[in-house]
Point group: C2
């Protein structure tokens, strides 16, 4: 390496509330090391790198950098680009051309994987490139690490949203269904459990993608909460699936249940909305004749409809059923940040640079809890291999992401265990208070 | 009045993040006055009062009261009950039976109206009842007052949500449509404007219920932002209406436009979803064959579909269009509270009791800005008549709520004026920062 080797840093995938903290950590730490020359920000991740679009990160004042760090979204721009081997070769060529010897990529496991490939190509070419993956995902489904930067803040948003929704639902009783992000893993949906502070608090059931359900189980669980509390607040992962592993709106089993429950009108409505999507270039249809499942209120509205019909038939009265799809605010709400998460995201960036300076040539930064006698939360960082984090060498059929472990999911599959709540609590930092005036049961 | 007259306090309508501050203000101040005997909380507003369901508010410790004050939702329970004259007579009889001589009702203008009727009945009966309305609404559409407690916190939520959504949209460019609460007045939707901090920040258009639009205007405004910024973030009130004053999903004009734009498939989809709602006791249909408009993602999904089809046809490429319906978090998100709003909501409760103690026998508490040389924000409280606030004596045809004034809406009808932003800014308290790394335009 020359005396002044350049460093490049980029951001990839869905933004989080603290991904810019990791960016600031990388830049801030890199500034301290004489060995590092230019500090280059990739514009929109590797997409920008391939076009040689860079930002001179040294031109930012520390004040500017701190303001960006406190802002959600990816300050450098992000991308959804999944680089193939050919792209990785081109990425390497751009690095060589610009004397880049430090490569930092902040993202999920696709990012770790692509970083690993770039790393391998560089080594084969005899070019020293220090390649580090800095973890971020609100889904918390990266392998190896205890938890992922970005998750704590999203979990705080979900918990406080459910706190408020539950208080609202107590004030004006009815059925409230909230659909939470996280298609493959239920970590974020499970965070709704933190909203329980006082007796009877919702969520009264939590539906996770790690388990399978029938539509009948869903409406029965709402009914059960209603019978017990006169109201119901239900947390549902957008990835809620049947016994075949198909999500509800892709499920032939749920489709069959709807027919059996004489709710064919719902299927007709999906078929009709699928035709709308055909007009905008919609791709292949799912079991419901629908093309786009995420980024719309489809699942929430579907569950609300089925519930409303079920309860109306059972009790012969119209029910107030409302469903919210929590939306992008989960990953990008300004001002709702876990201070623990922000600090750890910063630390992940700083550690990635320090690790390289101490001689490691590649890796992914992970977190490990440190046992303390008082039970106080401490987390330490460590370096894992890019291969282990991306799961690239896993045997076929083994999950390349981390679902919630069985011990964190309650018997009956519709709730989490106290162990999960204890594990999660320190990650969200300060939570809003939730007081209660004990009311007599409404007659 | 006897030496120890009892006081009753209740909460009504949709909860807010700070309605419990007003409750705490009434209770806290009432405790200070020897003339007041029992302090009774109505369980679920006048519904509970009519059933003589009360909470002894003196039994709460000040610590409990403060925790409840910091919690969203209505701690005493709320109701959607619109009392008729007969009900008001019954309310009065319950007051007489329980030696209640102070009546405090925290709510919107229906609450002011019902309080006014109770007041009149009491006076006719020669019974001294001091009747006060304490304002709350996230819609900010009460008459007389400068602004309403509850609005500042909801506006903060909307502003920070748009800040985050805009940062997210910058990071991964696409079209983002957010539907905001407020059917009759655009105050809350307009708060999205506070998300603009840096050049080019969204929202790039704001659609308000005070103006009328065509669907063509909507899709063109999205396209305009896309051409200018390569992305678009759009704020839409759930009350967006056509030139006849019908909301988009109730509009025959929009229906006709859809046919003209060859988007009949959208109408078919609405017709099909209307049939779903019939199964759950759905009431009369609107122009789209749909029965339930609010509390679902229908408007957001509709606007997203029409936009996606329009852009796909124009540019022959599939667009990433996402729409969120901001949901109940707007009125009840825990932890997102304007400190100014919280303080004013408390003050409204306190002032309502003090005003009664100083001899006024009825009224509604309002806010008035105090001019200051430095431009610093000061607000004072004053008593208005229940009749003026409820608008009960207004000439027929005059609005019994307060829409945004013309001077606050920009020419072209798709934005607010700088005057609005200046008026709003102090009400939301501390806002999250929003930093920006200036990126070259994506090629």
């Amino acid at each position: 390496m020359s005396a002044k080797d350049n460093l490049v840093v980029g951001q990839s995938g869905g933004p989080t509330a603290v991904i810019n903290q990791s960016l600031a950590g990388v830049v801030q730490e890199a500034m301290k090391h004489e060995a590092i020359g230019r500090i280059m920000g990739m514009v929109h991740g590797v997409e920008g790198l391939l076009k040689e679009q860079f930002i001179d990160m040294r031109s930012l004042s520390s004040g500017q950098l701190e303001t960006v760090a406190a802002t959600p979204g990816a300050g450098l721009g992000s991308c959804r680009f999944k680089p193939k081997v050919e792209d990785c070769k081109n990425i390497f060529e751009v690095c060589r051309k610009h004397d880049i010897h430090y490569y930092y990529y902040i993202g999920g496991n696709d990012s770790a994987l692509s970083a690993g490939i770039v790393n391998k190509i560089a080594r084969e070419a005899g070019y020293e490139l220090r390649v580090f993956h800095v973890p971020k995902t609100i889904d918390n489904d990266l392998l190896v690490t205890d938890h992922c930067p970005g998750y704590g803040s999203a979990a705080k948003y979900v918990a406080q949203c459910f706190m408020g929704n539950d208080a609202d639902n107590r004030a004006l009783p009815g059925i409230k269904i909230d659909v939470v992000m996280g298609r493959n893993a239920g970590w974020l949906t499970a965070a709704a459990a933190l909203a329980r502070v006082n007796p009877g608090d919702g969520p009264h059931a939590i539906f996770l993608p790690e388990r399978s359900y029938t539509l009948r189980q869903f409406v029965d669980s709402v009914d059960g909460a209603y019978q017990k509390y006169g109201r119901a607040v239900i947390a549902v992962s957008e990835g809620i699936a049947d016994t075949d592993g198909n999500t509800f709106l892709e499920s032939d089993r749920v489709r069959a249940e709807l027919k059996e429950m004489k709710m064919d009108a719902i299927l007709d409505a999906f078929e009709a909305s699928g035709k709308v999507e055909d007009l905008s270039g919609g791709a292949k249809r799912d079991a419901f004749g629908h093309t786009q499942l995420s980024g719309s209120g489809a699942l929430a509205d579907f569950l609300a409809s089925a519930t409303k019909i079920h309860l109306f038939r059972k009790y012969a009265q119209k029910f107030r059923v409302r469903a919210d799809t929590l939306g992008y605010a989960q990953r990008s709400m300004a001002g709702v940040v876990s201070e623990v998460d922000a600090q750890e995201a910063r630390e992940a960036g700083v550690t990635a640079v320090r690790t390289a300076m101490m001689g490691d040539i590649d890796g992914s930064i992970c977190f490990r809890r440190v046992e303390s006698q008082s039970g106080k939360y401490f987390c330490d960082t460590f370096r894992a291999s890019l291969e282990d984090v991306s799961g690239v060498n896993f045997p076929a059929g083994m999950k390349q992401y981390r679902p919630m472990e069985d011990r964190l999911i309650a018997d009956g599959d519709m709730d989490v265990t106290p162990e999960f709540v204890e594990w999660l609590r320190p990650l969200v930092g300060t939570l809003a208070p939730k007081g209660l005036i004990e009311l007599p049961r409404k007659s």
